[in-house]
């Protein structure tokens, strides 16, 4: 490893522009003649749109147009799609209601757009929006799953009777029944996984620019995957063919999954730009973010685990209801199925698993992937269940886990996933040592003497990242392949541009991806630049989510790099009159081993482009591309342990210690990995203690601002102690597994297990607010 190679904690290149205010986000972009869009959104959770009178608004100075849902449907702009087809138990396809970009007839959640005002300024657009009179006929709404599933409940979509999207299952029911029938002990737990609002720092925004002469659109948008946006907008929404649509996702201020999806506002901006013949900009505000960014989680589950007399797990049975909100968002269908139930084996040898998942419509904001997407729900359920079992059996929760750990790899679980490698004992040991697990009983007693309730909680998570082998996900219903592509251009002067289909919106790709080049060529990272986020520059890309950028995106870069190196070695060998096999690359030079003969990279590059003296038959230039399709998921895993105290009088939780021992395979930049873990842990703790997107029984959001939606702040979270135990991922040449979601996946269970341990009552839901904890203590 060089100073800037793999494994070095190189300071992030991109931070200079971010911390000096030079980042360029969508809202920073201003185009000549730009107009501004303001959406008119439904105040009702369920209603018929009776009429829209925009005459007064259209007469206001500065108003360019008022466009409605009826017009967008008349213009044959396609309905929003869901890109993963799930088949129910009975073999029927999932049942989806239509989702037009603006509602022509029926609105199904508060915040759904019915019309848009396009005006010369933001303020005029807003003034005019107030002058548009929308007449609604309110319908009865259902805001939660139990109400939606009741016989006689209001129906959201005629296509989905009973408000059920699908009733899916996985695993072997008969084997599970057999396991339970011979069980010595059965442990049961009912729990909910609270709905979260993603709250990226930068709200969503879009600028659409239609060029009538070229019949060409440019879309600047807050996207985690601009090529996927272009593909979906072209293939399904009938807005522009792919070669006439350029999608640019410039600096993007956080996504956490919520910016994977193609939203109505982007579609409307594109369509409106053509209609009014001018660029159209929309910048969402925080309220719109709360109302319209796809939410996360929202499960209600019942889980049962069967054990033999020796406390070995025999089987697991899970029944989950997953709330999809009012419409099926782009990848929503896959989240509570293939991203959730396939992880229900956790770190354990579980011979038989059967899970049923029912997807449910409610009059709430659509739900889709949010940091971890399905895996936090699986991990939370399993880790609370195992902890509950340990308490029921009165055995040490660490020992119960250890007894059931998978120790042989590869390991085929009963729910599709085949774990390639791992060492679960190593991370458990590391975390236990870091927190002085053995000393806990003494600390608990000492705290008790001070009148404090102290608890400790474990969480041994596993996740599937590096999403994903295309053939495998295709066979499970995915509408896209999940490979990644890369291109490496060595310029004639020897500087290097790396074009990647991954997209950085906080992850630090502009640094870590350079480190791979530094590692391979021995050049400083200042000579390398990373290009991403523009469909006109990058050949293709599936984007960034599911902790895939290192395992898939960086591997694609490596594959392209190998081609570049092979060609460069040929050129060097030719120039040095040596054999290609004797050329080694060191410190930016191509050397003939065992001699002092060498040629520097810029000279090789120049030779490639002057083409004055290349080997016979060689094409000029030094630029290569690669597509890389992974062969398996990767399986980051680890143990988190949380120690905390509960104030009996107020129910308030305060952290004493939080340790995280992760196995992410090889670390490219340990400092950036640490940052990713910190952020993930904070989100997991946020879910456990603070965050909850709530609706009242009429479907009105109760938590649509930061005055009510509790985001974690610095003083809500402890200082984390991190460590790493490493098993290299055998599935990719770099041995990397991914680290972007682990914290959010593993942290919640550790926190809740610690609180329930402290208070001696296992009946506690997230978020464990002081009010809830106090009631759990005092009744």
């Amino acid at each position: 490893m060089g100073m800037e190679g793999i494994g070095a904690s190189v300071v992030r290149k991109e931070d200079k522009r971010f911390i000096t205010g030079k980042g360029r986000y969508v809202d920073d972009i201003k185009l000549l003649g730009m107009t501004y869009a303001h959406f008119i959104r439904s105040p009702h959770a369920h209603a018929k749109v009776k009429s829209i009178d925009s005459s007064a608004a259209e007469a206001m100075p500065g108003v360019v147009a008022v466009l409605t849902g009826k017009q967008i449907v008349d213009d044959k702009v396609g309905n929003l799609i869901c890109g993963w087809a799930i088949t129910s138990k009975d073999g029927s396809p999932m049942k989806m209601g239509a989702w037009p970009a603006m509602a022509p007839e029926t609105v199904r959640f508060v915040g759904q757009a019915v019309a848009v005002v396009i005006a010369e300024s933001k303020n005029v657009a807003r003034d005019a929006a107030e002058a548009v009179v929308v007449e609604y006929e309110e319908l009865q709404a259902v805001a939660d799953m139990p109400s939606a599933l009741k016989p006689g409940a209001p129906q959201l979509h005629p296509e989905a009777p009973g408000n059920v999207v699908y009733d899916w299952h996985i695993g072997d029911e008969a084997a599970v029944n057999a396991a339970f029938s011979k069980a010595a002990n059965v442990v049961t737990l009912e729990l909910t996984n609270n709905r979260l609002a993603p709250n990226a720092m930068e709200p969503r925004a879009a600028i659409a620019d239609y060029d009538a002469a070229e019949e060409h659109f440019t879309l600047y948008t807050t996207s985690q995957n601009p090529h996927v946006a272009r593909l979906v907008l072209s293939a399904f929404y009938n807005i522009a063919p792919e070669h006439k649509l350029r999608v640019i996702a410039p600096d993007v201020g956080g996504g956490f999954g919520s910016k994977i999806f193609i939203y109505p506002e982007e579609m409307v901006a594109l369509w409106a730009s053509k209609k009014v013949g001018r660029p159209v900009k929309w910048t969402g505000d925080r309220t719109e973010a709360f109302l319209t960014d796809a939410h996360g989680r929202d499960h209600i589950s019942k889980a049962e685990m069967a054990f033999d007399a020796d406390h070995k797990i025999l089987g697991l049975r899970v029944k989950t209801h997953a709330n999809f909100g009012a419409y099926m968002s782009l990848f929503s269908s896959s989240v509570p199925t293939y991203l959730y139930a396939t992880l229900l084996s956790g770190q354990y040898n579980i011979p038989a698993i059967y899970a049923e998942v029912m997807g449910v419509y409610t009059n709430t904001t659509p739900v889709d992937a949010y940091r971890g997407a399905g895996r936090p729900e699986a991990s939370y359920l399993l880790e609370r269940l195992v902890e509950t079992a340990a308490r029921q059996f009165k055995v040490d929760p660490a020992e119960l886990r250890r007894k059931n750990f998978i120790t042989q790899f590869p390991h085929q679980t009963p729910v599709i996933m085949a774990y390639d490698t791992g060492d679960f004992n190593a991370s458990l040991d590391s975390a236990m040592k870091a927190i002085d697990y053995a000393g806990f009983p003494a600390r608990k007693a000492a705290a008790k003497a001070q009148g404090k309730l102290r608890g400790i909680g474990l969480s041994c998570y596993i996740e599937a990242c590096g999403i994903a082998p295309s053939k495998a996900v295709g066979s499970l219903g995915a509408g896209v392949g999940l490979w990644e592509s890369a291109e490496i251009r060595v310029n004639p002067v020897g500087t290097i541009e790396v074009l990647t289909g991954s997209h950085s919106h906080g992850q630090g790709h502009e640094t870590t991806f350079c480190q791979l080049i530094a590692e391979r060529l021995g050049v400083p990272i200042s000579q390398v630049s990373i290009v991403h986020g523009d469909t006109d520059k990058v050949q293709f890309g599936m984007g960034t989510y599911g902790s895939r950028s290192a395992a898939v995106g960086l591997t694609a870069i490596l594959k392209a790099m190998e081609k570049v190196e092979a060609k460069a070695k040929k050129i060097a060998a030719h120039a040095l009159e040596a054999s290609e096999g004797d050329i080694v690359i060191e410190n930016g030079e191509f050397k003939v081993t065992g001699t002092d003969k060498s040629i520097a990279l810029p000279m090789v590059a120049l030779a490639a482009y002057t083409a004055h003296n290349l080997p016979d038959g060689m094409e000029p230039g030094l630029k290569e591309t690669a597509f890389y399709d992974p062969t398996n998921f990767t399986f980051p895993a680890g143990t988190y342990i949380c120690e905390l105290e509960v104030d009996e009088a107020t129910g308030k939780t305060s952290f004493v210690n939080f340790v995280a021992a992760d196995d992410f395979g090889r670390l490219i930049n340990p400092m950036i990995v640490e940052g990713q873990v910190h952020g993930g842990l904070v989100q997991g703790i946020g879910q456990a203690l603070l965050e909850h997107a709530i609706y009242d029984s009429n479907g009105q959001p109760v938590t649509a601002s930061f005055m009510d939606y509790a985001m974690p702040r610095a003083d809500d979270v402890p200082s984390f102690k991190l460590s790493h135990t490493t098993t290299l991922c055998p599935g990719n040449p770099l041995g990397v597994k991914g680290c972007g979601e682990a914290g959010a996946i593993g942290a919640s269970a550790a926190v809740i297990n610690a609180i329930t341990d402290a208070i001696g009552n296992n009946k506690l839901e997230m978020p464990a607010t002081p009010d809830r904890v106090w009631h759990a203590i005092h009744g």
């Binding site: 303020n123 009088a649 603070l690 509790a710 985001m711 702040r713 106090w774």
Partner: protein, 266 residues
């Protein structure tokens, strides 16, 4: 935000005159309540009259047994003021747990009490300490000033100029912060006056804004100690109940925060 006309007043009289001229004018101090409300278009004043820079409205004076805090003094300036720390350290502490640094550097005592949010911190201090609110027209006892949720005795165009606090023998404040907003989920201010009277005020708890808690006052009067409150029952009737705290939880907090406030007061 709707269009508005901004004025910066240099004296209280000028501010009052500007107010009288505007069709629907509003005073602006720290702006931490008014501006968010304007941005959301929940308020659309014709004129915004900035009183935050008026010299006569800024500063703290300690004379004898009275601590005077001028209306446009920021929380941060109150928190760090040595006279406040000396005379009524509980007020200094209260400002240290009010909002976050951005709020403390902008928000003012006058804006807080004029707004009378049912979960704001200062109303509890004023009621408990028996403060007097002075305006450009009159003096109003704190007890008469706060009139329920977001309502006060202020008349249209009346400007708070200062708040006068009698220096107590002891006072303390304890607050359970609202997890999202950091206002008071429940905060209790306790005071033992120099004449031996005990006054306890709770904020964030009642459906009708800041309230006196007579049961706790009675207990503390006979025995100024946290344990004196052990036997007191606070009724949940009439208390706020929402996603962050049910009324029985808040009733418990009134008691627990009162105990902690007494401990803090010493």
């Amino acid at each position: 935000m709707y269009e508005t006309t901004y004025h910066r007043a240099s004296s209280v009289d000028e501010a009052a005159a500007l107010f009288a001229k505007g069709s629907e004018a509003k005073f602006l101090a720290g702006g931490h309540t008014l501006l968010p409300v304007m941005k959301q278009r929940l308020a659309g004043p014709s004129d915004v009259i900035d009183i935050g820079k008026i010299k006569d409205l800024i500063g703290v004076q300690l004379s004898g047994d009275t601590l005077v805090i001028k209306a446009a003094t920021t929380y941060y300036d109150i928190m760090t003021n040595t006279d406040v720390k000396k005379a009524i350290p509980a007020i200094s502490y209260l400002t240290s747990v009010l909002g976050d640094p951005a709020v403390r550097h902008r928000g003012t005592i006058g804006g807080s009490i004029a707004n009378n949010d049912p979960a704001a911190d200062f109303p509890a201090a004023l009621i408990s300490l028996g403060a007097t609110v002075k305006t450009n027209k009159r003096s109003i006892a704190a007890e008469d000033f706060f009139k329920g949720l977001f309502t006060t005795a202020l008349e249209d165009g009346e400007i708070i100029t200062e708040v006068a606090f009698p220096v107590p023998e002891k006072a303390g404040y304890a607050k359970m912060r609202h997890p999202a907003s950091r206002f008071a989920l429940t905060g209790v201010f306790v005071t033992k006056t120099k004449s031996g009277d005990v006054r306890v005020a709770a904020t964030g708890a009642s459906q009708s804004g800041v309230m006196r808690v007579s049961a706790i006052e009675a207990a503390l009067k006979s025995n100024w100690s946290a344990s004196a409150i052990d036997g007191v029952t606070v009724s949940a009737a009439g208390l706020l109940s929402d996603i962050h705290g049910s009324s029985d939880y808040r009733a418990n907090l009134v008691k627990v925060m009162a105990q902690r406030a007494v401990q803090a007061a010493g």
